[in-house]
Symmetry: C2
Subunit: 246 residues, 2 copies
């Protein structure tokens, strides 16, 4: 029998290969030709495994690299002096973490693994260097940053002007869409985060999240069993969002 295969957080020497990665359509290599992807491969320093609940980086850490999620998922959060915290996002495979660190050379939020995960470490200086040579990489990187800004505006809209059930509906539809983009079922998935974390992200208390789930279940919109979600009526959820009249 093998040793337990779970290892502590380490930068392993395994050579990464974007060209072989099934996430390349979502990630930095998107739109690059094979030769350019090879250049990217060379630049990606290493992979790093992060166990559930461990930090990939913390607020205040010096910024050196951005990270592409190869396996698993993360949350990012911001913490105030008085202890209040806010989840600012949930990230899945192919998404990029660490962009917040560019502005001040220090990270401004915490990134925590929701499950045992693995990231590709992309040293930022080298990314900028290669972006100066490879136009397609430069553009894709800019698109990824811009996408983050647009996503954040969506969350601001959600937090600023939606009611609890609308927020949860938006959240579920968003998760569904992202699972779909990764080749998983749009209607059935497993949430990696707790009700408390969902609540923090949506600006609600965990009890409110739980009650909204129960209401959706009563109304036949979803089947909920703890973290396992089955969406039964996607149009119904969308209706909840668009027609504000309750």
């Amino acid at each position: 029998m093998q040793m337990k295969s779970v290892m502590p957080v380490t930068a392993v020497e395994v050579k990464t290969a974007c060209s072989q990665c099934n996430l390349r359509e979502l990630c930095l290599p998107f739109g690059l030709d094979p030769a350019e992807v090879d250049q990217l491969d060379e630049m990606v320093g290493s992979r790093r495994k992060v166990k559930r609940q461990q930090h990939l980086y913390r607020s205040g850490d010096p910024f050196e690299a951005i990270y592409a999620i190869r396996a698993g998922s993360f949350k990012t959060d911001v913490i105030l002096e008085d202890g209040r915290d806010q989840v600012t996002g949930f990230q899945m495979t192919g998404e990029v973490l660490g962009l917040d660190g560019i502005s001040t050379e220090n990270h401004s939020c915490n990134a925590i693994a929701l499950e045992d995960s693995e990231v590709c470490v992309i040293p930022f200086g080298r990314l900028e260097e290669l972006s100066r040579q490879v136009e397609g990489l430069q553009h894709q990187f800019h698109k990824i940053m811009s996408r983050e800004i647009v996503r954040d505006h969506g969350v601001m809209m959600l937090l600023g002007s939606m009611r609890a059930e609308e927020r949860l509906a938006a959240f579920l539809l968003n998760m569904s869409q992202r699972f779909t983009a990764r080749g998983f079922s749009a209607s059935e998935f497993h949430l990696r985060m707790t009700r408390d974390e969902i609540g923090s992200y949506l600006g609600l208390k965990l009890e409110t999240v739980s009650r909204a789930f129960s209401r959706f279940q009563e109304e036949g919109l979803v089947a909920v069993q703890q973290k396992h979600i089955r969406i039964l009526d996607t149009p119904g959820l969308k209706r909840l969002l668009n027609h504000h009249a309750g």
Copy 2:
């Protein structure tokens, strides 16, 4: 007598000069040497005047350029199908507008002038081109995008976990800090936006904003006269933020 002086939005031919601009420490030229600033000058296509209440761009418009605010101020907002809208930001001189458009090649929000304003039009294709040649420009641009992401996270924190008075205190301190960075008084300034717009940005109704202003006034934290604000007790406002205990 002249014709009505309100003109349609136009791109004027006046040559811009970043090297002469007193905003260069806040804007794209930051950190560049004089020769590089000259290259940037050459790239900036034109200026454009935008009158109060007019759109610089609208959600859905094709993305071609980003804009540096040379004079005046703007708000950006997002509008849902059902009519609800959310102000996602207020922008002042030296700040950059339009980054939301990179991700899909279309703008995803509206940018509206709060007063008669002027922007420098920076064709995005040429910015990317020059960024490939000028390392300092590339890095400054990345910092500006990252700063926007960090700012958005701050707003998410505000919307997700602060009470009304905390939100307004954070808003006032933020405005004060940005006026200071532009050489204006930290303690006395003129807000260009209405209570309704402030409310939309802070996820509150205009009445709540008004009441919070009145409360601050009663408590001697600020002197409010319509849009004219005088901050009397900055530490007091900061205390409101950090010590959540009422």
